[in-house]
């Protein structure tokens, strides 16, 4: 049994995560990886107990995934990457005056998503654990397969497929350049800042375009953004009464199957499942509601399963969440390595207890907060936080993390990644394909090199 002190630390960590990520979640356009990874890394490096860090992270993702949907539903600005697929549907519902009702449905579906993902992924992790050693050598193949698979299910198949190898060469070229120049030690593989480079690529491209006067003209508007915020409605708090049987059914089934596809991009899965169930509904309003509730459940389910299964069963970051936002739990210079991280330091019962407790406390707190104050928090944040400040923070974060990874040269290296992957992104190569390529880059390039000799 952990001693009292640790239990208090766990509870404090959960409350801290809820407080921090409720605020961040309501700020539109805050990318999940950029806001989760640096803070978690700070906790890990500061020497907190692994179990406390895990509690913080679980509470953080549950909170963020729930609060990110609020600006999306209320004002049509995406809270983060994961809520961007909901935008089209939520704007349709907002124009119908249904925002107040839809935030409750989203919160209820999110609740349902956690409820289903938690036991499913823990059981799946338990079943997979004995095979962990067998799966490990095949990790690179899985990532290559993932990149190809995500290309094939995306809208622009050939474009995506043809982007994989050039992108892999870009990532490896930079790594080899730094090794060759002696900027970083040969044992260090830079991932964090490259990952963030992909994430804020589209923003980088937009910012660069502003420096072209002709392009800038096309982005100019005469009017500021007029935003009407609906009030919270006075409906039941019972999450099971807020969803129709059909909505709950679609959300639950999708959230369940997401667990088995934990190696695939969470945004990709959310779009895939959300749009698939939406296409089964004819009525446009009902279609949008179904899409949004399923997506809200999927966001929680993909994040939880992609954290829990690799962490509990394998100890290697074999999912997009594990290698991105949760990277610091697997690998943090000086504290965790791939051979010795949270997976190796906690027992199965510890995992089950801390994950369940952290997500339950966070879920209940945020659920009530949203039902009571969603509109007021949104108004407060939109009235006081300028969009410029949010964009400025992203630029500063990428600057800091690229500098910390490999000095000034990497600031420009990451800029190169941002411009390249951002351009591909705008052309239609989605994040999922690009992230998978980053994880598979070393394998793809060394294989190609082998064939070239």
């Amino acid at each position: 049994m952990p001693d009292i002190n640790i239990n208090i630390q766990i509870v404090l960590a959960v409350f801290a995560a809820v407080a921090i990520y409720t605020v961040i979640g309501f700020i539109p356009g805050t990318d999940e990886t950029s806001v989760l990874m640096p803070i978690t890394l700070t906790l890990v490096l500061s020497g907190f107990e692994p179990i406390v860090v895990l509690a913080f992270f679980v509470a953080a993702i549950v909170t963020l995934n729930l609060t990110n949907t609020m600006p999306t539903a209320l004002v049509g600005l995406p809270g983060g990457v994961m809520s961007s697929p909901m935008i089209e549907h939520s704007i349709l519902l907002k124009n119908q005056g249904k925002s107040a009702a839809i935030i409750r449905k989203m919160a209820a579906a999110s609740f349902l998503g956690v409820l289903i993902a938690l036991p499913t992924s823990l059981i799946l992790a338990g079943l997979l654990a004995p095979y962990g050693e067998l799966i490990k050598p095949y990790a690179p193949y899985l990532f290559v397969f993932g990149a190809i698979f995500l290309s094939l299910i995306s809208k622009h198949k050939l474009l995506s497929l043809l982007s994989i190898v050039p992108l892999a060469i870009l990532f490896q070229a930079l790594r080899h350049l730094y090794w060759g120049l002696g900027v970083v030690d040969a044992s260090v593989t830079i991932t964090t800042s490259f990952f963030l480079g992909i994430t804020i690529g589209p923003l980088m491209v937009s910012l660069y375009s502003l420096l072209n006067k002709d392009t800038k003209k096309t982005m100019e508007r005469d009017q500021p953004n007029t935003i009407v915020i609906p009030h919270e409605s006075k409906q039941s708090l019972n999450p099971f009464k807020l969803l129709s049987r059909k909505e709950a059914g679609y959300a639950a089934v999708s959230a369940f199957f997401a667990n088995f596809l934990f190696v695939l991009s969470p945004v990709g899965l959310t779009i895939l499942f959300g749009e698939t169930v939406a296409n089964r509904v004819k009525d446009p309003v009902e279609k949008a509601t179904t899409a949004i509730t399923t997506m809200a459940a999927m966001v929680q389910s993909t994040y939880l399963s992609q954290l829990i299964i690799p962490l509990v069963a394998l100890g290697i970051p074999l999912s997009p969440v594990a290698i991105g936002p949760a990277a610091a739990l697997f690998n943090a210079t000086g504290v965790f390595t791939i051979e010795h991280n949270i997976h190796h330091m906690l027992s199965m019962p510890q995992f089950i207890v801390v994950i369940t407790v952290a997500s339950a406390i966070a879920l209940v707190l945020v659920y009530f907060l949203i039902h009571r104050y969603a509109s007021r928090i949104t108004k407060l944040i939109l009235s006081y936080i300028p969009h410029e400040a949010v964009l400025g923070v992203f630029v500063a974060l990428i600057l800091l993390l690229s500098y910390m990874d490999a000095g000034i040269i990497n600031v420009f290296g990451v800029l190169l990644i941002g411009i390249s992957s951002g351009t591909l992104n705008k052309m239609g190569v989605n994040y999922g394909v690009q992230f998978m390529t980053l994880y598979a880059a070393s394998f793809i390039v060394s294989t190609l090199a082998g064939w070239s000799m």
Partner: protein
């Protein structure tokens, strides 16, 4: 005067304000990071993030929000 807004990432900005924000927040972040004891990764990151928060608060106070906000009842 006809003020021009720029639409980027789903919301409106003013070009000059954006440049100021990026310079201010990047500077506070990097200066704070470089003030941290050398060779200490956790403190370096912590100082950097502290600098980001300081810059963010400064810009929040300095730059005007380009949104017109109504509560639904206000104009009903």
């Amino acid at each position: 005067m006809n003020k021009k807004y720029i639409e980027i990432f789903g919301d409106m900005i003013d070009f000059k304000d954006l440049i100021i924000s990026i310079i201010v927040i990047s500077s506070t972040t990097m200066v704070a990071h470089l003030l941290a004891p050398a060779g200490n990764r956790p403190l370096g990151l912590l100082f950097g993030l502290g600098g980001t928060i300081i810059g963010f608060i400064a810009i929040t106070l300095l730059v005007k929000v380009k949104r017109v906000i109504h509560m639904e009842d206000d104009h009903a």
